[in-house]
């Protein structure tokens, strides 16, 4: 088996002593996989992503990316390895789509350097992958929610990182745009990226992910393939609600139906 893209060892983090968010988390994300992070509200999913990108510094434990500890990496180095798409938010700064995507090249630029040919190609490629070529000169405020999400994704793609981490990328989107976005992520994974996404919708996660990480109260409750993790027992234990799991009639993956 190849080296894991990410491996987390005994990670703990708390905002304050009385409020532990993550306790002794250890997990691995397989290189080239599409891994979903699931769990109820407050389980620590977003915090886990922020720790991966070192926006938060862990209290203890270590995170290895590509076999190297992130502790010793500079901000730039880290941002060349893992690109993060945050939760949907409104930007006060109304730049164009191309300008936003071009910011993805920041980790490769020095203060005095102009945009290089490599930068331009990466931006062009990211715009193409995001299906944004026609929108590239539009400003963010004129975009729809789905378009804006794709623009943010394209910025992350321009970072040319091997790991793409997304925090609830499908929230606020309608089902059509949810499907489009997840399909796009699946395509990117097929091109070699490791995709790691915090998701809320269990059925969509089952449809697109290969591996799942199920968090409960700041700890890893279950991890493994979709079939291993998405069981009625796990859902009952983690979400505290009754559900039955059945097979998707076309794709054959597990699907969850809630019970009253």
């Amino acid at each position: 088996m190849s080296q894991p893209a990410i491996s987390v060892h005994n990670l703990s983090f708390a905002y304050s002593v009385t409020e532990p968010v993550l306790t002794d988390v250890s997990l691995q994300v397989i290189s080239g996989s599409f891994t979903g992070i699931l769990g109820p509200n407050g389980a620590g999913k977003s915090t886990l992503l922020k720790l991966l990108s070192r926006w938060y510094k862990p209290d203890s434990g270590d995170i290895m990316i590509g076999g190297e500890s992130t502790k010793s990496m500079s901000h730039r180095e880290l941002s060349r390895r893992i690109a993060v798409v945050e939760q949907e938010q409104r930007f006060a700064t109304d730049i164009t789509v191309r300008e936003l995507v071009a910011l993805g090249r920041l980790p490769y630029q020095s203060l005095l350097s102009e945009e290089s040919e490599a930068d331009r190609q990466a931006v062009e490629l990211s715009l193409t992958q995001g299906g944004l070529l026609d929108l590239s000169e539009r400003t963010l405020s004129t975009l729809s929610g789905g378009e804006r999400q794709r623009a943010r994704l394209a910025m992350a793609l321009a970072q040319d990182a091997s790991i793409l981490a997304l925090d609830e990328p499908t929230t606020h989107l309608d089902i059509r745009h949810q499907l489009d976005l997840l399909t796009l992520l699946e395509t990117l994974r097929a091109q070699g990226l490791t995709v790691l996404a915090v998701l809320h919708d269990l059925n969509l996660a089952a449809l697109f992910c290969e591996d799942l990480i199920l968090l409960k109260e700041g700890q890893v409750y279950a991890t493994g393939t979709v079939d291993q993790v998405l069981t009625a027992e796990n859902i009952a234990a983690v979400y505290d609600c009754r559900a039955t799991v059945y097979r998707h009639p076309i794709h054959g993956v597990p699907q969850v139906a809630l019970l009253r």
């Binding site: 990108s53 500079s74 400003t139």
Partner: protein, 339 residues
């Protein structure tokens, strides 16, 4: 507000600035027709100073340095405002509103009082002292706003207003007790460009240049931070240290401006908004547009201050406050939901 933006806006803005400089050269207590400006300037080059006509003297020794100083100060203040608005992600941020100008004027006034004039055009120690005052004020205001009021727009404004009033009161006290030794109070509360010369321009231009250059070199980082600290972090920007450098640059720009022209408010508040309308939110384009627009605006404001009650003069701060006050309220009303 979405207006059609011209494709290449900078040449347009530069033309506007040049035109405003020429209008400024032609008008004042003594009118000099535009047609004679060239003749007067060629006289400056060709003949010795003793033989200059009074028009040549007025233009070269009084009006041109003054107009250029207004341009440089306007560019500095507008740049400082643009940087602060981006860093704090707050369209109401400006060195005047946040009390940074008052801090700079306190520093400058103290330096003058203590006779720290270490020669160099009499400004050698005033600008550094103003810089110390501006920096301390900026950090105190930002600290109060972040730690004590949860970084809300209202908290930032209130912290700024409180600091500004407090520091202005100290400056007024100093001026009151010092009598003749430093500038009259009005200079420190409503600045202006009366009696400014080439020396002032030479003394202050390098600081403005350095402040602007630092901001411009970090334009991508600044755009990233204006999107969000976390977003900038994910793009590999070292947010705390970058923010420190940029806050320092805006304090330097403010200090340089205040030490030669006193407190001139609202330039840094208004101009970046106008620059965004005609240019871009991207700091790579916003910074030059703000600087040139700010220069044009302050040259125009100084011209109005010089001619409206001629041959007397108004403090230019009155003109900028007359424009800036209503603009500030307009911005507030647009943002009332957030506050």
């Amino acid at each position: 507000m979405e207006i059609k933006k011209p494709l290449r806006v900078m040449p347009l803005l530069w033309t506007l600035l040049l035109a405003m400089l020429i209008i400024s050269m032609a008008n004042g207590a003594v009118s000099i027709p535009v047609s004679r400006i060239w003749a007067a300037l060629s006289e400056v080059i060709s003949s010795p100073r003793a033989e200059w006509s009074s028009e040549a003297t007025i233009l070269w020794r009084l009006r041109i340095p003054r107009a250029l100083l207004a341009a440089v100060v306007g560019a500095g203040l507008a740049t400082a405002g643009a940087v602060l608005q981006g860093l704090l992600r707050n369209g109401l941020a400006d060195s005047y509103v946040l009390g940074v100008s008052s801090g700079a004027s306190l520093g400058a006034a103290l330096a003058m009082l203590m006779g720290l004039r270490l020669s160099f055009f009499g400004l050698g120690s005033v600008t550094p002292a103003a810089f110390v005052g501006a920096t301390l004020t900026l950090f105190v205001v930002v600290f109060i706003a972040r730690r004590m009021t949860g970084n809300s727009t209202l908290g930032l404004l209130l912290a700024g207003i409180a600091m500004s009033s407090f520091l202005s009161a100290i400056v007024s006290l100093l001026v009151f007790f010092s009598r003749e030794r430093i500038q009259p109070i009005v200079f420190w509360t409503m600045g202006g460009f009366g009696a400014r010369s080439w020396n002032h321009l030479i003394a202050v231009a390098p600081y403005i240049f350095v402040g602007y250059s630092v901001a411009f070199l970090l334009n991508r980082q600044l755009t990233a931070i204006s999107l969000g600290d976390e977003t900038a972090h994910h793009l590999g920007v070292n947010v705390p240290s970058t923010r420190l450098v940029l806050l320092g640059a805006s304090a330097l720009l403010t200090a340089a401006a205040v030490s030669v022209s006193g407190v001139i408010g609202f330039v840094g508040l208004m101009i970046p908004h106008m620059a965004r309308m005609v240019s871009s939110h991207n700091y790579r384009r916003l910074l030059p547009a703000s600087a040139v627009l700010g220069a044009t605006f302050l040259v125009a404001a100084d011209l109005i201050a010089r001619v409206i009650v001629k041959p007397a003069e108004l403090p230019v701060g009155i003109i900028t406050a007359l424009c800036g006050g209503p603009f500030f309220i307009y911005l507030l009303s647009k943002r009332r939901r957030e506050i």
